[in-house]
Amino acid sequence: MSSDMVSPRVGSEEVYRVSTVIDVRELRHSYSRAGKPAVDGISFRVAQSEVFGFLGPNGAGKSTTQKILTGLLPVQEGEVKVAGHDIRHPTGEFFNLIGVSFETPNVYLKLTGLENLRFFASLYDGPTADPVELLRRVGLEDAANRRAATYSKGMRQRLVLARSLINHPRLWFLDEPTGGLDPTATQWVLDLVREQRDRGATVFLTTHNMFVADALCDRVAFLNEGRIAALDTPRSLKLGYGERVVVVEYRAGGGGDVGEGGGYGGQLRRETLSMTSESERRRLEELVAAGHLETVHSQEATLEEVFIKVTGRGLA
């Protein structure tokens, strides 16, 4: 499945009735009694094998929600079911099902990369992945026997990623998985997420990196000030909130003559034309009819632009 394709199953009510893995209803969480809630009455569902993106700027409530879903924070108000388990009372069986990759590279610094993975593998009840193979997948095979204290931040982050896959999780939580990674390592992460989705795992991705979200997610939720501002497939969001425009380049004043070097004569011009405007659609038709067009590009909004439009704020 291409990353840009939307699963035909995702989004339909039937899918969630049959295979909901995460079911959150009216979830609220406050760190202080008087303060503004970090999470303010959010509801959403995630289906099996879905890559669900939870997007928003720092302080939007993303990490708080993920901590509640993984049992690190208690449910104060609302209902949360994860993989059929009431998250108010998480059991060992629940933790056997999930894998969590934290934003901070939290590994045992005094242990080697291999020892870190072997230790965590020993905590699970079911079959676990081969630690050496996992280290190879994240490019740490050469550093397997070095203490994690000697790793760079990016290497530790990759070790955390590998650790979160040690139990073949059915539900994989990723918190800013590409933070601090170089482009090559980022590509490894993208490949790993697609691979996990293809083997049937559900992925809950928390990030403020819209490129990563756009590349990976079947659906995304925009979180702003503890509330979900929008929730849909990236494509629907871009089409729904972005302007449908085309950018055209053409030669003006050259009369269509072929000039030196094989190009048309006249000055090169560029226009952005909205497809929702009657007059601009006519202008496009004129340019096509005149035969002066050199390039035509459809232009959709980026997820970041949609986010700004929906929430009125940027992602920084």
Binding site: L72, N106, S122, L123
Partner: protein, 350 residues
Amino acid sequence: MGRRLLSLLAKDLKVVTRNHYLTVVVGLALVYVLAINFVIPAQLATSAEVVVWDQTPGQAMLKLYQTGAGGASGAAVDSETASAEALQAGDTRLGLHIEGGDLPERITVTYQGYENEQTRHLFETTLRAQVAALAGSPPPVFETDVLRPTQPAERPPFNFSLLPVFIFSEAVMVGILLVAALLYSEKDEGTLRAYRVSPGGEFEYLLAKSLAMGVLGVVFTVIVTALTVGLRVAWGPILGLVFLAAAAMTIIALVIANLFKTISQFILTGLVITIVFGLPVAGYFAPSLGPWWFKVLPSYPLVFALREAYFPTGNTAAIAGAVWQMLATLAIALPLAVLAFRRQLVGRDA
């Protein structure tokens, strides 16, 4: 659970070794070995040395001290200056100036000034009895009875008699601070959070830490014991007591450490805990000193049990009592530690 516990214990032992906690423990053990073997004397001088300036013709009192019959060794001087110089030369010396004829008529005692009232009273009472004996008055005869008769055991050399105290204070008490350091280092690394989203439980996590400290205590004890009193000791009771006590004490430390967010917040309380648990050592040196709250502390029976394990007198009940008290401490403190861990540290760590 057993597999996870062993795995956690192995991990903790690797971490304490690589964090140099083990190096610290071994280093401390060697310092104690040197102190016991070469610094602390095998015997303590407990009787005073008396500087006697006897101006009586027969010098009966001087003879009494020179033969040792005076209850203390005596050194003779023949002038006031010599007496003053001799007294200046030793902090534990007492001066005795005797004047008179055949019998002492006037006696002057010179103290250093450090002696307590009891010592002075005892010395003067003995002196009166000696003078009375010289005058021909027979000393009074007492009949004695003992409420708690025990088999008089061979008294160990003084330096070795301190072993139970050293073992207790280092093998057990150092564990309190080390286990807190271990806990907070994992909190700072964030690995505690990683553990929390695994199937591993709080009970195993805390028990593994206390067992790791028990192993460190055993290492310390083996080194100090083998290099001081030798290999022919009752290893089973000694190491069993140390392991159990270190585990119990560190669990208590974990209950309290879980109430603090950082090690700097905990450290003062940690020191107070070690002092409080260390107080019963006073009862070891002065067995009559034993207020009820000493006996409630798990450290109180431990020092006596260790003494019994090192220098057996047949009082096995001392060891059994300490073992039961340690087990009871573990049974009470472990659930409390789990509760504190769950409610306090993890909530804030998340």
